[in-house]
Symmetry: D2
Subunit: 349 residues, 4 copies
């Protein structure tokens, strides 16, 4: 598409965290002129307005329309799905059949193998033939090859961007990858529960889902696509008392003859012209340096004594880890400028 061209955009699930952020980005995108919201809990007769569901969006007096695939395709040029796991696997068929552009922020279409999805998500997967029609949308490494884009998970994005140069260039010993990821509370969604209760998580840090997190197979699938020798990773997730943000601290053993200079060259090769990845000159990244932005900041170090490379990769889980990357996928799919609709700087302080 050319600049100046206008788009009608549908958004399913605007009342969740990712959906709400996506709404705010789409609202300031220069090419998006129509924005239609849809609910995925059909059958309820109660009208829902965006401003009611999200008081911070007071005066955004848009009603959530009922979910109807045909109507959605007639009224829009593209559909974003910011839905919980298990929704799009049930509703994607008509869009896929019509080859209608969909950007899906959920995990439902990230795997090629339905069995992997079922095992890790504990839900029925979409049919294999539908999964084949979807492409994985890690924007810094892939441009869309189909019209159904599976937007990557937040942990997966931070981890994969941190590992990509070394994995693709075969600079590490394959099965030595350990990812110690720290995440803000918004990553687990909006619904009140024991672990997002303020009195629980404030002044706390909680390691959860040890070796059971559903982003593990997503990371492994992509690492294998880059390097067949990788078969498994060690992956822990620790909830820390912040609202937004992920830090993935990645430990890997260097392949023989690797130096810090070579490591930095590899990262420069892939990222020096990348608009949304910033390599730190010093080795100490912090989450807040990316909060509110679509940046992924990466810091590097190499300890010769232990032959360990440490890569620290930070993102805002709701931006580069969800809505921001979804907008990048939208911009790529329709040939808009890469940063259209995206804030140019993090929120500081």
């Amino acid at each position: 598409m050319k600049e100046g061209e206008i788009m009608k955009v549908g958004l399913l699930g605007a009342t969740g965290y990712s959906g709400a952020v996506l709404y705010s980005l789409l609202k300031q995108h220069p090419n998006v002129t129509h924005l239609n919201l849809y609910g995925h809990n059909t059958g309820t007769s109660k009208k829902v307005f965006l401003e009611t569901a999200i008081p911070a969006y007071l005066n955004e007096h848009l009603e959530l329309q009922e979910f109807d695939p045909v109507a959605i395709m007639n009224s829009n040029d593209v559909l974003f799905c910011a839905t919980p796991a298990g929704v799009t696997s049930k509703i994607a068929r008509p869009f896929i059949e019509e080859n209608f552009p969909v950007i899906d922020l959920s995990g439902d279409f990230r795997f090629k193998d339905p069995a992997v999805y079922s095992k890790w998500y504990h839900k029925p997967a979409a049919p294999a033939e539908q999964l084949q029609k979807a492409c994985y949308g890690l924007t810094d490494f892939q441009t869309p090859t189909t019209h159904y884009i599976a937007n990557p998970g937040c942990y997966a994005t931070a981890s994969l961007l941190g590992l990509a140069p070394l994995v693709i260039e075969k600079m590490i010993i394959p099965d030595t990858i350990i990812i110690d990821a720290k995440s803000g509370v918004s990553g687990a969604g909006k619904k009140p529960n024991t672990s997002n209760n303020y009195s629980f998580i404030n002044e706390n840090a909680w390691l959860y889902k040890m070796n059971q997190h559903q982003h593990i197979p997503e990371i492994v699938q992509q690492l294998q696509a880059w390097n067949k020798n990788i078969s498994a990773i060690e992956f822990t997730t620790t909830l820390i008392p912040i609202t937004r943000g992920i830090m993935a601290t990645i430990y890997v053993k260097a392949a023989p003859n690797i130096t810090l200079t070579k490591i930095k060259q590899a990262f420069n090769k892939y990222y020096q012209h990348d608009k949304f990845i910033r390599l730190l000159p010093e080795e100490t990244p912090s989450i807040k340096e990316v909060t509110g932005s679509n940046y992924c900041n990466i810091g590097l170090s190499y300890n010769e004594v232990t032959n360990t490379i440490v890569i620290v990769s930070v993102i805002d889980n709701l931006m580069k880890g969800a809505a921001g990357q979804a907008l990048q996928n939208f911009n790529q799919l329709f040939n808009f400028p890469e940063e259209a609709g995206l804030p140019l700087l993090p929120l500081f302080p």
Copy 2:
């Protein structure tokens, strides 16, 4: 100015909190094409780059230029000063003499009476004749009358916007105003000290500067401009463990024959078409509903039993309380659209 017209903008003090936020707004303002940064600590030979002072702004490789009034006026169409108290009182003269547009975020030019400034700021004031050339820039009530705009203080903005309709319409008993203001930690600036130390203020709330806050005379001066019968206010400030945001909870006694309906009518009269003030349908505002935005949200209640009106006014202290309002003043001064450069929605969650 017309849309499409371009501006060269100078910014003094970009490395402080307000200045940094202002920089991020100016960067996305459609009419600002040149942005020059200046330091106010002249005489140091060390080069300072924005990205070094603010790591979150990595890749903003702008150097802070030395402060030189003539050079500044030659290179720019306007100068923003995001400086601590006591700076612009010393450096404003050449700009005022040349009638060069200045938007000053500090308190130095907010008072007509130099003695008031000296008393509350414990610093020498600018000369009275210079103070006369400045106008107070509470954007929702004033458009610039001179080229030197004194941008209001954060507490003052929240308090004045909450009180204006009732004070102007003479609906309250004059000297019954009590303002219990709560503020985030960024309000006191970037320099580390005992009270912004994390281990002090986290899990804490601290009432400070009881009846001694320098925003008291600023609020009183403007209230008196609206209603001569007001002579004093009771004003407390409590630091709470958040980075951004102010809540001003205002208690006033209603004049005779006032009802909640009349109160709401007064607020509607002044604010229903105001782009950046949102009246809450329910009476329970929260700070986070405005964080990252230029909004002031206002909630109202009237207790007939105690004849007390409670107005709750919330802003982001660095946006509507500093950089956001400064940009509004810029837009007003140069006839740009009111919301140019300003984000349309708060950061959520």
Copy 3:
């Protein structure tokens, strides 16, 4: 009772916040040798152990016993009830009939008038004749007059201790009391909901229940007991992002001829020998100075210009505002040393 004497103590509701804190205090009380826990949701067959309900209490392998009044009275010398509103009104009868000592942390027995309770708690009240058998346990002003002690509410404790000297000594204009109270999140209990969700309340402040908080009539009832001329107060509650703590900022108009010296004398008169009330030499109290302790810290100022006295009273809502004061009531009732079982210093930092 004499020192060295031992007590068997029952505790109903140990798994809530107040109950858990009470458990930790009782455990280190030198005279408490037996501690029996009871659940108030009878009829469930599932065994509940304290350590399961509260992982921080790992190894406290006590089972919650089924609620049975006769068994409880047979096995214990006293019963603490740390139950939500609406529980003890239903179960208190046998204990009251037997004149068995009960310390009730809920609001159910704080009022003399059942209609007041029903109106503000939206629940059926205990019968008036039972309410007559209960005494209000504001420990710094009352020693138990019956065996059923209604332990005061957290907001009520902070507010009443801040107001008592001036109200009793008639040093204020009666109906000018405004209380702006700030509270931590634990005050609303342990059950996850929208307002204790981390992503909601972190970086936020939220004014809730404007003029509708159930502690209003409790405060007014006690103020009237001290001074019949008081008929109403203005009272707001703002939730701030801390786990524990309350700050009550109280504004009152001084009666004629009052000076700061007289105000301080009044506070000294009542509190200088009070072990758990600390008068601040300077006027700026902070919540964290009492966290984890049973202290109430009070700061004072008087503004002659506005004739306003500001009293700032801070407590730990779960200690002096709940479990700590309950233990003080226990110590008073059984003649143990006032500070038995209570920590001597706040948690710092």
Copy 4:
């Protein structure tokens, strides 16, 4: 010593975080009847009182006495030093010569080799012959062998307690240890600086001192004492927005034929009768479960696919990681009950 016996205790550095916590513990220790405070900045004529330095300790009207070794030894039975690095190396000599009991919370006497200290602390070390007179006080594994006890560092305590059973029992591949430690802000002391500034660290996580933390050689020295094959560790420290607490997430490769059952047996062997180490039945520890207590909680998992053991060890850095363990050392040195003076339960919530 026997129960009932009384002690006179000196405390150097009571105004810092560790010292203040130690003061609060000593104050409630049943055998400590006299508590003398000393300052280590001699030569200043200004009197310092504890309550002035720490407002939370209002009414603790103790004056800090001037530092004088002879006077200290005459007036006390033991001296605690809660001093910054570089103090005790200069002042320890007279105490060591007199064989006077000292418990030193700083790092100055933790190494046998002065060169190691100088290299990692960037300060001159105490003389080697003095270092020989000190013993390392990891209380769960060592009882004092000399009268000068070097109390372990906070990160070292969490890491060593998590590793000890597997290292001593030779159940891991020696040089595969990776420790990803998360720490609260109080760990870096009380002095305001850029990294403990609220607006910096709130809503943030910051990886600092990559491979440069001074606790690395302390951990390695003790691991080598247990198992000579260990020569190096990989160790990162991430500051998270909490005041107190450390989580050490430890990744190690299992030696051949290791199973989760064997791992658990090893931990049970060393810790099942340890009063202050709690093994979690489930594998998800959280920091807050130990806050305010002297506990170290440990969770375990073993991933057969990656042959990785993950040990998660959490402590309160100011208790088990500083003052609490120092009191344990005191109790061991003088044969008091292990838990004398220590709180029995964490602060909850």
